[in-house]
Amino acid sequence: MDFVAALTVFVLAIFVGFEIITKVPPTLHTPLMSGSNAISGITIVGAILSAGLSLNDGLAAYSIMGYSLTNILGFLAVVFATTNAVGGFMVTHRMLEMFKRKG
């Protein structure tokens, strides 16, 4: 996909975001925040691609113990993003269950 198409997606998605989240009851402010925060853990996709690149892709110049520096940064990014996504979805679920049980 070229840059302009990606930019189009970006701008339209922002409008979609504003449209779908119009009125949020205050009761759900915290779960909405932690749930959307978990979604921002989507950076994990980029992290996976960086962590898993093989050295054959010209990365050998920066290699340490068989892994390139790109791989190592990618690994750290996978750790961060996984914590964000897994923890975020779980804690949101925990909160929502509390709201649900006497709804």
Binding site: M1, F3, F10, V11, A13, V16, G17, I20, I21, T22, P25, P26, T27, H29, T30, P31, L32, M33, S34, G35, S36, N37, A38, I39, S40, G41, I42, T43, I44, V45, A47, I48, S50, G52, L53, S54, D57, A60, Y62, L69, N71, L73, G74, A77, F80, T82, T83, N84, V86, G87, G88, F89, M90, V91, T92, M95, L96, F99, K102, G103
Partner: protein, 464 residues
């Protein structure tokens, strides 16, 4: 797998995120919404793994470490510590963006694809937004957890100039990277400067303004993810869509929080309280007019009450009083007293903080009444109990246009028949001004720890 199939699965994931977020805006659909969001994430991850000859050792190691950390944090965390946890997770998202952008810059320098202009711009922006998010969130975590950084705003002369210089400096270095992509050292320079900026931005914010900051950092973490979507080549739609959705939802929450304080975002971030200081002194307001009461007396007052409203604030979270409040709620309800909770949008340290605590204590959420709905009925309330709240019930917001909280929507507890304020002392709230409510004719102060006072009231009620 063909790129088309991968992109279609990403599209499905993006749709799941949109539907999931929409679900999160209604109590009945929220659990399903959250599950849809996590399904979307799982789909995106699986299809990425199948992508092309990736080596899996580091990826799996990262899943294990990050997954364990996430599960442990999510399961062990106390509900009162939720603001800190949300801040921390926000920061991790930003941190991942810094690292992915750095990794991509390295790859471009290792004879990968030639570096396109837009990738380089996106790398710089990912680094800046990611670093501000990461360090800003860590400082927010420190303030909320009460470690390392003080809860009070840290202010110094010329602070706005310093922040502008830092932002300018990181942008200039960013332009240098774009002109010479081999300067990987400059990328870490940009990250370092933006990190200082993130620290300074949040360290200047006081505890009671945290709901705004946490919501804003939430928005940044989304924007950082969207920027990272542009970093990858080809640009990755699922990152861009998911990131911009989160960016938009965070901005909406930020806006709601600012409105609830009648302040602009710029005022919260750069102004802060303390500039306007000419309100009445505490002696003038309180002198000889404050009446103290006791749990026993409060218990007697309940004998003739038929409608009670409780206004919780951050003090309830600090005192961990929510379970004691539930006991009081159950006891009063069993005596046919109607008990409702009036929750101010910025009460506590993050959006919806009080609602989460009361839900944890099994208070039905239809008893949590929004400010605008409860205010018109305040005159019919027999007893209003203010539990650890201050500025959000200060009538000065309505009466004194010069006050720092002038125009802020408040919960009109002063209109109730009797107001009980449970508080350790007459010390001012975050705005630093005295509260005439404490000296009003219909007010009684119950001095002490919130949890202990409520428990003693419950004991007295049972002895009747």
């Amino acid at each position: 797998m063909s790129p088309n199939i991968v992109n279609i699965v990403y599209l499905i994931a993006a749709v799941l995120f949109i539907m999931g977020l929409k679900g999160l805006t209604h109590p009945r659909t929220a659990v399903r919404g959250n599950l849809m969001g996590s399904m979307g994430m799982l789909l995106a991850i699986v299809v990425t793994l199948l992508n092309k000859g990736l080596s899996f050792e580091l990826i799996i190691a990262g899943f294990i470490v990050g997954g364990l950390a996430g599960v442990i944090l999510a399961v062990k965390i106390e509900m009162t510590a939720m603001p800190q946890l949300v801040a921390l997770f926000n920061g991790f998202g930003g941190g991942a963006s810094i690292l992915v952008a750095g990794a991509e810059l390295l790859r471009l320098n290792s004879g990968g694809d030639p570096a396109g202009l837009q990738s380089l711009i996106a790398i710089v922006l990912s680094g800046i937004i990611g670093a501000v998010t990461f360090w800003g969130s860590l400082i927010a975590f420190g303030k909320l957890q009460g470690v390392v950084v003080p809860d009070q705003p840290v202010r110094y002369p010329g602070e706005q100039i310093v922040k502008v210089l830092l932002l300018g400096g990181s942008l200039v270095m960013g332009v240098m990277i774009i002109m010479d992509p081999s300067r990987i050292d400059l990328y870490w320079g940009v990250v370092a400067i933006a990190s200082v900026l993130g620290i300074l931005l949040v360290i200047a914010i006081g505890g009671a303004d945290m709901p705004v900051v946490v919501a804003l950092l939430n928005s940044y973490s989304g924007l950082a993810a969207a920027a990272t979507g542009f970093v990858l080549s080809p640009p990755n739609t699922v990152l861009i869509v998911a990131g911009s959705l989160v960016g938009a939802s965070g901005l909406i929450l930020t806006n709601i929080m600012c409105k609830a304080m009648n302040r602009s975002l710029a005022n919260v971030l750069f102004g802060g309280f303390g500039e306007v200081q000419e309100s009445a002194s505490a002696d003038d307001v309180y002198g000889g007019k404050v009446k103290a009461t006791s749990p026993e007396e409060l218990a007697m007052l309940f004998d003739t009450a038929s409608r009670v409203v409780i206004v919780p604030g951050y003090g309830m979270a600090v005192a961990q009083a929510q379970h004691a409040v539930r006991d009081l709620y159950n006891l009063l309800e069993s005596r046919d007293v109607t008990v409702e909770f009036a929750v101010h949008p910025v009460a506590g340290r993050m959006p919806g903080h009080m609602n989460v605590l009361l839900a944890e204590a099994d208070i039905p959420y239809d008893r949590l009444i929004e400010m605008d709905d409860i205010n018109p009925t305040m005159k019919q309330v027999d007893i209003a109990i203010v539990l650890g709240a201050n500025d959000v019930v200060n009538p000065v917001a309505r009466t004194d246009p010069k006050s720092p909280i002038a125009g802020m929507p408040i919960i009109d507890v002063d209109k109730a028949q009797t107001v009980i304020v449970i508080k350790r002392s007459l010390s001012p709230g975050f705005a630093g001004i005295p509260n005439p409510l404490f000296a009003a004719d219909n007010s009684l102060m119950l001095f002490g720890d919130g949890k202990k006072m409520i428990q003693e009231t419950v004991t007295s009620l049972k002895e009747d």
